[in-house]
Each structure stands twice: as C-alpha cells, then as structure tokens.
Amino acid sequence: MFNFVVRRVIYTLILLILVSISVFYIFDWIPVDAARLICSKQCTPALVEANRIRLGLDVPVLEQWWRFMQGLFLGRDYGQGAAAFHCPAPAFGYTFTRHQCVTELIAKTFPVTLSLALGAFFLWMVVGVSLGILAAKNRGKFLDKASTVFVLVGTSLPTFLTGVLIIIFVVLKFNLIDPLQIGNWANPFTDPVGWLKAFFFPSLTLAIAYAATYTRFTRSNVLETASEDYIRTARAKGLSEKVILRKHVLRAALAPLVTMAGLDFSGLLGGAIITEKIFGLDGLGSLSVKAVFQTYDLPIIVATTIIASAFVVFMNLIVDIAYAYIDPRVRIK
C-alpha cells in the first residue's frame, strides 16, 4: 500500500510537470503574441519588445516554465526598474490588464468556484444517489419511470439552457431572490443565508445535469450489485431487505461513484465555465474565459490552465488512494 501511494504520488508529480511544461509550449506555439496584446492600440516594435521582457517571454520556453515554478515557491518580481513590483509566493504571474498578481485574482475567484462546485456537488450527490436508489428499489414502478424522465431531461438539456431557463422562468418570474444577489460573494461562515442566495440557483443548474447521470449510474449499479452472488448469500443468512440494501448493496454499488464523483468535482474546480458565465459568477472559469475573450491575458490563462490540470491530476491521485481504502481488493500486496 505504501509503495502504491508513493508510486502514485511520483507519477502524479511527473504528470503535473509534463502538463505544465506542455501548457507553456502550447501557448508559446499559438499565434498569439501576448507582448503585443498588452500594448493595446498603438504598438511599436520597441514597445512590443519591452512588453516581452516585462512578461518574461523573452527567454526560451523551458526557462519561462522554470521561472514560473520558481515563482510558485519563491515569489517573483515583475516589470522593470522603478515600476517593478513583487508578487509573493506562490506567484502565478502578474496581469497587466488587471494590474494585479494572478494569485490575488485566484484567491478571490476560487472561493466562488469552490462554493459553486460544493453546492452543486452536494445537490447532485443527494438527488442523484437517492433517486437512483429509489428507482432501483422500485424497479419498473412509477418512481422508476419518473426517474427515467428526469434522467432523460437532465441529460438532454445543455447546462446553458437550464441556466437561462432557471433565471428566466424561476428566479425572475417568482422574484425569489434579488437578482443582484446571485453570484455576489458572501462568506458562508458569517453570512450563510447570503451565501445560499448567491449560490443556490447556479449550483442547482449545474447539479441537474450531473444528478441525471448519477441517478442513472446509481440505479444501474444498485441493480447490478443486487444480482451479485454475495447478495444472495446475505439473503440466505436471513438478513432483511432493508439491511441488505443499506449495508451490502450500497457499499459495493456506491464505491465506483467515489472515482466518478472525485473526478467530476475536480473538473468543476477548474471552473464551471458555462454556469459561471450565465449567472455572472466571478469564479475561476469566468476569470479564465474573460482572460481569453477580453485581452487574451496570457498570465491568467496559463495560471488557470495549470491550476485546473493540477486539480484533475491531484484528485485522480486522491481518488485512486481513496478507492484503495474503500475496496479492499485494490488495497494489495
């Protein structure tokens, strides 16, 4: 087990290094000259050159990457001479269009994304899993059919439509929440109601599609597990159906959900782009998308890409290790 974990961690780190280097190469390769973009309307070659130095794009890609990595651990100076300034570690870069260290931006937007992701995660897990279980339990009956409809609708509605429809036909129609409050950051610890108001509907939107998938997955897993031999064994012992479901079936049926949920969740941490856009949430997704669409703000783009990758890669690691704990068969040798 220890070996397994160590090997996984090393692999994860290697993967992360490779991915981050690739990100640097990719953004170097594409025909976008960030040095030119930040000099706005009137670009002279000298100005572009100056910008290149300011952005640190004047050195080979690998060195750019290395400086980035150093910056992560040691902090980094941006700009030159009198106008230079320092971003403390972990420095993800500096954006000249928003005049801020990228780390500050991330620190500000991440809680939003995290709230959205957590809210959605909670909703879809609760709804998806319980509906899936209920449907499996009442296989072929009304509830099962109703859940089928839910699954179909959920998987057929693109998030952006769900979001728009929820805003138009729920939020605005019934005046549920001061529209200005949606997406306004509120600290969940000091202002839980404000937090709920800000994130309930966006989370709901996001949760619907996932909940549908999870309902389907849970239902089929529960049914599949229920037909396993060891469930028959449990029945032969004289266990009641309730206990069998609760203890024996769910344990095995829901284990694969850990992997799925972990990866889905980590995917969202990188930003739920569509939902954030529709509800005007200021999360990582919006940050990165705006960076693309507004000025192609390379430092933000690179930083968010790497962060999103890191979430995925690390979550993969965590999920793998967690799964090994949940399923003793994986916990080997």
């Binding site: 397994f4 090997r7 996984r8 692999y11 793998d320 994986v330 080997i332 040798k333």
Partner: protein
C-alpha cells in the same frame, strides 16, 4: 520407437509484472511454467494433469507459440520453434492445432460456423480439392454435425456441438499434433463422453499426436498413452498411463489419485483417502526447495531446501521427488 513430434526442453514461461493504463498497480512476476522437459511422440496421446493454476494451459499455449517463452527449447518436427517470429512460425501452424476448453468463448460469436472453419484455409491460402465449402461440409460431417448447418452461428448450438465445431476447425489442415486444453471440462457429463469418444476416434483414425490437458484424471486416463503430472509450474511425475494410475510414485500423484471421487459407492466407501493440507501456493511466490513440500505429508528438511531433480526411475517413468513411494 516412434520419433518425437514435439520435444520440450527446460521450458520456462514467466509472466512479467503487468502494467496497464494506470500507473502504480503492478503485479509481480508469475513463474507459471518453470523448467519443464517432456516429449510427445508421433501419434501419441500425452495427458497433462494438475491442479488449477499449476501451469497446464500455459504449457499448452507456449508450446503452440501463443506466448513467447521466457527460455527453453520447443522442438517441433525437428525444428526449434521457440524463437521463431510469427511469420516464420506460420509454416508450422498447419501441423499443430489447438482445441480449447470453453466452447463458448472459443468460437467468434459474430462468425458463421462455415467461416470459422474455413478461416484455416483462408489464412494459409489453401484451396482444398472440391473447394473450401465442400471441405467444410466434410469436416462438419467428420465431427458428427449436420453439414447443412454451415451458415449458422455458434449461439445456435449446444456446448457439445460447439466443441465439435472447434474440433473441426482444428482438423481442417490435417494437423499432426493437437493441444487439447481441457476440451471436455466445460461440458455436461452426458456430453463429455461424446466428445471424448470423438477425440479418441480421430486420434486413432488420423494418427494425430495429442497433448491432452485436463484436471479430470479419469478422462486423462481414458484417452492418454502417457501422463504428465504438474504442480506449481514444474513436472512432478511422468509415466505411461497404466503405470501411473496403478502405481503412482510421487506423493502428489498419489494424493491426487486418491482425491478423485469415484462414481461407485462401494469402492468409495472401501477406499482410503489421502487428504492434503491447505491449497496450492501462489506461483508468484513458490515455496523453496521442492514446491510440494508445504502440503506433502512426507516432507523432510531436505525437501524444504533442495529442489529434487527429475529422474528416470523406470523406462519412460520420470519423477521429481526425494522420497518417492
């Protein structure tokens, strides 16, 4: 004395630790076959028995060159084929064929019976006299199936019939040597006999040499001239069938024979049984010394330290035991 069609010398097949899509979960090396030496004479039927996981299938497949052996020689019709590349191997393929255990998975469910059997011809670019279709019909008849069923799919047949299809496929190119890997163990008793008889007949009729793998000793006894007993990747005992069943010399063979349930209550009641302790150790981590020592009632210190050599104790009767019966 008839010459050998197959000679296997110190064959080893070790499966490397497995790596796949996910980094981190690697499996250890499995010494599935660890130095076996035996031969099969022309037209002879050799049985290979042993407990599950002892490496019978691996021997069969390695001999067929479905696996690249780790080391050792496989001399087929006088030629060492152990290192041949697939293309060079093709020449020998028509003379050696295989029959599989599971009649369900050995036939491609998406092909008709006809195309399954004719594939042998297609692959080797052979057009038999009277055409491929005719030849296929002939083969079907030969194994006791209705030639009209040439266009049916495998799932329309019962297990025994499917096994016949598999046999027809193996016979297509008139092989000289067939590896039959538990050809009847998946079949019901009433069907088993049909197939055993069929194989028996074919062997006699065409003089095909067989390596007959089975864990059911009574079947092996019925069909083989000679029997090899394997345990944990190694040969324990090798002897003519009659000798082996009459007077097993290796403790393991003895235990194995005594464990076979006899379908005769009176004999069963009278018989004394040797009950082995425990189970087969893992081939990934075999015991030191004689591999059988952990379950052997006669094991002594020597057995735990020293690997017994395979010695010929009587004409064509070999044994690997420090303390034979």
């Amino acid at each position: 004395m008839a010459e050998n069609i197959l000679e296997v010398n110190n064959l080893k097949m070790h499966f490397e630790g497995k790596r796949g899509f996910s980094f981190g979960s690697e499996t250890p090396v499995v010494k599935a076959v660890d130095g076996v030496t035996f031969n099969v004479k022309v037209g002879e039927s050799v049985g290979l028995v042993g407990e599950s996981g002892c490496g019978k299938t691996t021997v069969g497949r390695t001999v067929m060159k479905l696996y690249e052996p780790t080391s050792g020689e496989i001399i087929f019709q006088g030629q060492d084929i152990s290192k041949l590349k697939p293309r060079a191997m093709k020449k020998y393929r028509s003379s050696m064929q295989m029959i599989f255990q599971d009649p369900f998975s050995s036939l491609n469910p998406r092909h008709t019976v006809g195309s399954i059997i004719e594939s042998s011809f297609v692959i080797h670019g052979i057009t038999p006299e009277g055409g491929v279709k005719e030849a296929v019909r002939g083969l079907l008849a030969k194994v006791g199936l209705n030639p009209e069923h040439i266009n049916r799919f495998p799932h329309e047949f019962s297990g025994g019939q499917r096994q016949r299809i598999g046999i027809a496929r193996a016979l297509a190119l008139n092989p000289k040597f067939i590896v039959a890997d538990e050809p009847v163990s998946a079949l019901d008793v009433s069907i088993q006999a049909q197939i055993v008889n069929l194989l028996d007949d074919l062997q006699k009729e065409f003089g095909i040499a067989f390596l007959f793998i089975a864990h059911d000793l009574s079947v092996v006894q019925h069909i083989s001239d000679r029997v090899i007993v394997m345990y944990l990747g190694k040969i324990m005992e090798m002897a003519p069938t009659f000798d082996l069943f009459l007077k097993p010399r290796h403790p393991y063979t003895k235990a194995l024979l005594s464990a076979v349930p006899v379908p005769d209550p009176k004999i069963g009641r009278a018989r004394e049984k040797i009950l082995l302790q425990g189970d087969l150790p893992s081939p990934a981590n075999p015991p030191k010394g004689c591999v059988f020592n952990t379950r052997c009632w006669k094991a002594q210190d020597l057995c735990r330290t020293t690997v017994p050599e395979v010695l010929e104790i009587a004409p064509s009767h070999s044994l690997a035991c420090h303390f034979p019966e």
